[in-house]
């Protein structure tokens, strides 16, 4: 039977604020265990949480970028459950009155088609500490001890819940990419999935193609990259398809994605689900952001990826797929924009940044010694005929490694093309004089032989002639 998958994503985003959500501890990744803690984030008796204003400003920013409504009145709630790495044994989160309500994110798929994914809500909470289990086989079920690191406890965490609007793993991946690019452009989070500053859980259910009602959903956790999200969803859709085809019921449960095994396994069923006993956090007054403040945050919003793509296509004349690749990579996009600001022709600059420059950046893992000026020079020098494409690529490699200006690299490596009509004109005269037969053929109407003459001229110029200029000079003389 043909099924349609229904996918919704819950993404957790650690904000990169200087301090934690409810205390003054530094919010940093990778510090030695338990060095970024205080009585508040360790849940000592008598301590109280005081919300971080900058974190609230940032979630408002995120909400505005996703076209959410900013609630005039929202509450923190306590989510109660026992776990050793949660200092208070409750998490301060939000429940029925989140700060950002509704919204949407427009995504673009590989085939260029667009889709609007609804946002249910975006709410503010705090992160937990980290448990590491040891002894036994190293797995949690037969561990003999656990170590706890509370550096992460109390780090501001934003949860962004999508509507179940996605239908394929590709759409889910596109959504996550777009969300990441949006958050990156907002400068609110490091959005590094490998460090856990962006985390994603997926809800997926199947229903017969064309059906209206939703099937039983399964939540999948532990995807550490966009690629693993796609793989996990593909696996889960296939698993559920087989289950349904065998007339077995889908169990409402939470499943754990095992990256190495490439499969999901049951973590807990609905019956084992926690009753979190949510109730309004009595230690924190309601959040009622001043509308003027919200407007201030709105005014500070940067250009978002979607608008940026549109501008690249509509104003700068880029092809949509080039614009998409550029905008998905903040570093590339910045390099491109800055090169264009230095008067580089946009289409050529975009091609360089998404192709040769991208290859260099990917290989190095960073921008090397490359600056926007290098990119602008490459584009400008090619269009001025001072260097060939191949020569420019060689010069760029050198500049990427050393930071040497492109022109200097061209000269040092002898890549400059001669476009000087005086010098090349003399050579053209020589070529024509040496090849009277070919000249005659041209004049008889076999204009294709000009290629041979250009080749001769290039040889005389030891490869440093601009072929376009060379051909023009020859043609002038032949037709003159």
């Amino acid at each position: 039977m043909a099924y349609e998958a229904v996918i919704g994503l819950e993404c957790h985003v650690e904000l990169s604020t200087a301090t934690k959500m409810f205390c003054a501890c530094a919010n940093v990744f990778g510090a030695p265990p338990n060095t970024q803690t205080c009585p508040v984030c360790l849940g000592h008796p008598g301590t109280l949480p005081v919300p971080n204003r900058e974190a609230i400003a940032r979630i408002i920013k995120i909400g505005l970028a996703l076209d959410s409504a900013i609630a005039p009145h929202s509450l923190f709630h306590r989510k109660n459950y026992f776990y050793p790495d949660m200092p208070k044994n409750y998490q301060i989160s939000q429940y029925d009155l989140p700060i950002c309500v509704g919204g949407h994110l427009d995504i673009e798929l590989a085939d260029g088609s667009a889709k609007r994914v609804g946002i249910t809500r975006v709410h503010m909470e705090e992160d937990t500490g980290k448990s590491t289990h040891g002894g036994g086989s190293g797995r949690i079920h037969d561990a003999t001890y656990a170590t706890l690191d509370f550096n992460r406890a109390g780090v501001p965490l934003v949860e962004c819940v999508s509507e179940p609007d996605m239908r394929t793993p590709e759409e889910a991946a596109a959504y996550l990419r777009e969300l990441r690019a949006t958050l990156e452009s907002l400068d609110v989070s490091d959005v590094k999935m490998e460090e856990g500053s962006l985390r994603c859980d997926a809800n997926v259910s199947l229903r017969p193609a064309g059906a209206e009602t939703l099937g039983t959903k399964v939540e999948i956790k532990n995807m550490n990259s966009i690629r693993s999200l796609e793989r996990a969803l593909a696996f889960e859709i296939e698993r559920q398809t087989k289950t349904l085809d065998a007339d077995d019921p889908i169990v409402q449960e939470t499943r754990h994605w095992d990256e190495d095994a490439g499969s999901t396994a049951s973590m807990r069923s609905k019956e084992e689900a926690f009753d979190y006993r949510y109730f309004p956090e009595p230690d924190i007054p309601a959040m009622e952001p001043d509308p003027a403040w919200v407007d201030e945050v709105r005014a500070s919003l940067p250009e978002l990826p979607r608008a940026r793509r549109d501008r690249y296509v509509d104003t700068l004349g880029l092809k949509p797929e080039v614009a998409r690749v550029l905008v998905a990579d903040r570093g590339a996009s910045a390099l491109f924009e800055d090169a264009v600001a230095l008067d580089a022709e946009p289409v050529a600059a975009a091609n360089w940044v998404t192709q040769d420059v991208a290859a260099l950046r990917n290989a190095a893992g960073d921008n090397g010694a490359l600056t926007p000026q290098h990119v602008a020079d490459v584009v400008t020098l090619i269009s001025a005929g001072a260097v060939s494409n191949a020569g420019a690529k060689q010069a760029l490699d050198a500049s990427f490694a050393s930071g040497e200006p492109v022109e200097a690299a061209i000269d040092r490596l002898g890549l400059r093309q001669v476009s000087d009509t005086g010098a090349l004109g003399a050579l053209a005269d020589e070529v024509l004089a040496e090849n009277p037969d070919v000249v005659q053929k041209f004049r008889d109407g076999k204009e294709g032989v000009i290629g041979f003459l250009v080749g001769q001229l290039m040889q005389k110029a030891a490869g440093a002639a601009n072929p376009k200029v060379a051909q023009e000079l020859l043609r002038e003389r032949l037709q003159g």
Binding site: P45, G46, T47, V50, F82, P84, R277, F279, P282
Partner: protein, 493 residues
Amino acid sequence: MSEALCDLTGAELSARLGAGEASASEVLASSHARIDAVEDRVGAFLTRTDQLASERAEELDVYLSTGAPQSPVAGIPVALKDVFTTNGVRTTCGSRILETYVPPYDATAWARLAGAGAVLVGKTNCDEFAMGSSNENSAYAPVHNPWALDRVPGGSSGGSAAAVAAGEAVWALGTDTGGSVRQPASLCGVVGLKPTYGRISRYGLIAFASSLDTVGTFTRTVRDAASMLQVLAGHDPRDATSLDVAVPSYTDGLDGGVAGLRVGVVTDAFGEGVAPGVATSVRAAIDRLAGRGAEIGEVALPHAGYALSAYYLIAPSECSSNLARYDGVRYGYRAPGEHADSIEMMFATRGQGFGPEVKRRIMLGTYALSAGYYEAYYGQAQKVRTLVIRDYEAAFERFDILVSPTSPTTAFRIGEKADDPMAMYLNDIFTIPANLAGVPAISIPSGLDDDGLPVGVQLTAPALDEPTLFRAAHALESELALALRPPLVLGAG
């Protein structure tokens, strides 16, 4: 009997310290002598801080000898209910689960007193996690009422009330969630203030029920209560619920009298369950207010009858969450031995570390917040709370101050109600409404009943109107001129 410094009021001591007629060390020595004389019978303290106090007093004497500005708090021996964190000094909450807990920071309330020169004599006994009305729920020992040693001091701040009544401390801090300052003040014959919710920072007050917990004071006069609040009140950036509202002078208008003051007598608070001796004493006090020119009328708080039920849903709900952190993972008691996993260790720790009343309330609260019951219990209780707030709003349109007994009875015998939680909960029937509404209230002695036990009268004012509360209470106190001293003190040195 020669006069003991520790029996003077804070205002009197401050005057003597300022005039060089007494030193902080002498005042402290007097307090220590009283503790040595009576503490084995009263049992007010869980931890004494003699060494720290002596060092502190010596420092103060050096400071005072320079003639530098002197806070009314400087040199006053103060006791803290053992629910306030004290940096480096064990803080137990009257519980086994925190028997060895030494906080790494000071509560804001204590830090403010300490900063103004108060001298900490010790941490006082209390009902475990402030849950109780008799101090019998302390995991360590009961506290004995200095007026009758076979009777309870009230609770949960029983140790603080007893310490001030007995002269072991001149002032004390307590906490009032449903009456835990005012009720023991009433039973011990001292002044107990519960200010407006949010007026004093709760940072470092180990939470029982966050939306109700209020830092309160024990003193022997209204003026001293005003002086203490002056130092304690104010916004604290560490407590998001502390009010960012200017602090008025609490002592300037104390002598303004009650002429023309509209006083509403809470009529329902004189009915069934109120001991005759209590009703008689409080009515007499009201007559004295009338004699001083107050306009007396009757007022009803129609929903106050539901306040107790609402309180016993809201407070346990919050407590079930607030006390979840005591799990043996990071501090405090940890159940010994091998455990199947960390969750089992946490549960064993809690099973062994908490006493029966705490467990009862955690279970009540857990149930009230459970899926499917939340609306019927917690949700409904919050609605009642709103109605109680409206009752007060309506009452304060007609009256400046409300008057009632603080507690329906005087001090009862140790063990008398220990096995009957419902009878125990009724102790707070007149004090709980002010906590639900967040309004300030004070209990001052109105006299003694036929058994020679203190009776307390409670005055209540609108939110943030502590100045009027103090003015009325001070006028009544002056008019009554009781100067109560428990027999224990009269027999001590």
